[in-house]
């Protein structure tokens, strides 16, 4: 059995940043396992710009952002095993992986960082009605085909869902000569970043149809049309509003799901709302020495925040390896209250300053986010605008937690 101090599963932005942070904190025996041919993860196909504003104070494309980390990983000579799939992970931190050259590998790690990212919700996942001809793609798959494999996915396009990847693909397809007829969004607001609506849709006169969805898909071999309709407040189609859009391609940009199959095998406890692990303030899961970061923990809107989070996980894993035992007594539970979708971390210790990452449930103006316990408000912050698509981070000093008696704090938006 191969022995490693730290094994990181995934060489995307989370895995790479975690590895570098652990290395900086004195861990050199690191193995990063990547199932794709090369490191970089999803960034390799995100050829648009807008990455790195927080981290590098400049605007980079996805591949450029990835390259900065890949370069450093190469410089430190950290081992990345590509084309390798991890199939088993236990709570004893034993892994089974395989690739073409080595066959099956058995690896025992002192600490593991989960950095597997997320996958896309599919046509089946949203119970898309109608036929199943060719021409229905998830947005990330279409992006992969176009940007990495030079395959044009279609000519007349309808996009369902206005998440960022969908918006980016609307522009990308237009630039490559396709006719993007509309972006349909079932919610009364877009789930994408404002700047993407502006530079991807408005710039190219692509209509964004809010409170609309696809109620039928028609086509025998290739997609021929979709039927769209307006929806009411409960997202049910409103009779009489349906209309047909002729198209050969339907792109689904309907959400990402953290990819936690391995986590489950290791008995990592998952959060129903995020789909990712329940973590302590050092990003350690309920399983001793297994940490989680990036989109496998919760879906991020900015890669810069993924890198920050992964660095934290990398440092925590390094500390764990060096100390070789449980790190701290985490005893305060964090709950998402009214108006808040979720909060990370879910468990904190009183001794440390905390940064809470959260999302509100719906877009709004003039909101106050309050962090309360024992019937008292520990911290509050005002926001002019809040939006579920934009993650909110709130810093709270440990001073505020020290006098706490109760073991639960609640975060609400009022």
């Amino acid at each position: 059995m191969m022995k490693k101090e730290l094994v990181i599963i995934g060489a995307g932005p989370a895995g790479l940043a975690a590895a570098l942070a652990a290395y900086e904190d004195g861990i050199e025996d690191i193995l990063i396992i990547e199932r794709e041919e090369r490191p970089g993860g999803i960034l390799n196909q995100c050829i648009h710009d807008g990455f790195g504003l927080h981290k590098f104070k400049e605007v980079l494309t996805g591949p450029e952002y990835a390259h900065r980390y890949i370069d450093k990983v190469r410089e430190k000579e950290l081992e990345i095993m590509t084309n390798t799939i991890v199939t088993e992970l236990t709570d004893e931190k034993e892994l089974k992986a395989f690739n073409e050259n080595d066959g099956i590998l058995h690896i025992k790690a002192e600490a593991v960082i989960l950095a597997m990212g997320s996958r896309e919700r599919t046509a089946g996942g949203i119970s898309l009605p109608g036929d199943r001809p060719s021409g229905i793609y998830t947005a990330g798959l279409a992006q992969n085909l176009m940007n990495l494999q030079n395959i044009q996915v279609g000519k007349k396009i309808v996009i369902l869902g206005s998440g960022d990847i969908g918006l980016i693909m609307a522009r990308r397809l237009t630039l490559e000569g396709a006719d993007v007829k509309a972006v349909l969004e079932i919610m009364p607001y877009s789930n994408g970043l404002r700047r993407n609506i502006n530079q991807c849709l408005v710039d190219y006169n692509i209509p964004l149809k809010l409170s609309q969805t696809v109620i039928d898909v028609k086509g025998e071999d290739r997609l021929e049309s979709v039927t769209a309709a307006e929806v009411d407040e409960s997202f049910n189609p409103i009779e009489g509003t349906e209309y047909e859009i002729e198209c050969d391609t339907l792109i689904l940009s309907v959400g990402l799901i953290p990819e936690n199959e391995l986590s489950k095998k290791a008995n990592v406890q998952l959060d129903d709302t995020t789909g990712g692990a329940v973590v302590k303030d050092n990003l350690e899961t309920n399983v001793d020495g297994i940490f989680s970061c990036g989109n496998v923990l919760h879906v991020h809107d900015l890669v810069d925040f993924v890198s920050d989070e992964a660095e934290k996980a990398g440092k925590a894993a390094a500390e764990y390896i060096k100390k070789g035992h449980k790190l701290n007594k985490d005893n305060i539970f964090v709950e998402a209250g009214s108006g808040i979708g979720y909060v990370i971390p879910q468990v904190i210790s009183k001794e440390k300053d905390q940064i809470f990452s959260m999302r509100v449930r719906k877009p709004d103006n003039e909101k106050t986010i309050k962090i309360a316990a024992d019937g008292k408000i520990l911290h509050e912050e005002n926001f002019e605008k809040v939006n579920p698509s934009e993650m909110i981070k709130i810093k709270v000093s440990s001073e505020k937690f020290k006098p706490l008696e109760k073991s639960t704090i609640k975060v609400v938006a009022e």
């Binding site: 050829i47 504003l53 927080h54 591949p63 940007n147 030079n150």
Partner: protein
């Protein structure tokens, strides 16, 4: 007549909503930006919107068939399709490094097309 426009700044994830009032080329009032860059952006949007174009170029003999590219500075939005036409016909030979200039002044514009990823030679 004075005109009014709401502009969402695209420069950073803050995405400030900027209100701008103007008469022809003259700015009368501008508010809503969290930083001065936002004001400049809004003024530019009124005059002549500028965008960084990202796309990909075909590679010969590389370990991937495409190299992702960008314009090294923002170009007028109305010229973006002209550059896309040029990019369509471009071919580049592997290897390519990040930052390599693929083409100078595409469509006669004051910018270069540069590579944003590396492509190794296919062995």
């Amino acid at each position: 007549m004075t005109e009014e426009k709401d502009i969402s700044c695209i420069l950073c994830p803050n995405g400030c909503d900027i209100k701008i009032k103007y008469l022809d080329d003259e700015i009368i009032e501008i508010e809503g930006a969290l930083c001065p860059k936002g004001n400049d952006y809004a003024k530019q949007e009124i005059k002549n919107p500028m965008r960084t174009l990202t796309s990909s170029v075909m590679v010969e003999g590389g370990d991937t068939s495409l190299v992702s590219v960008k314009t090294d500075k923002p170009v007028p939005l109305e010229k973006v399709m002209d550059i896309m036409d040029v990019i369509d016909d471009l071919r580049v030979k592997a290897p390519v490094s990040v930052g390599d200039v693929i083409l100078d002044s595409p469509a006669g514009l004051d910018c270069s097309i540069v590579a944003t990823r590396e492509v190794k030679i296919n062995i």
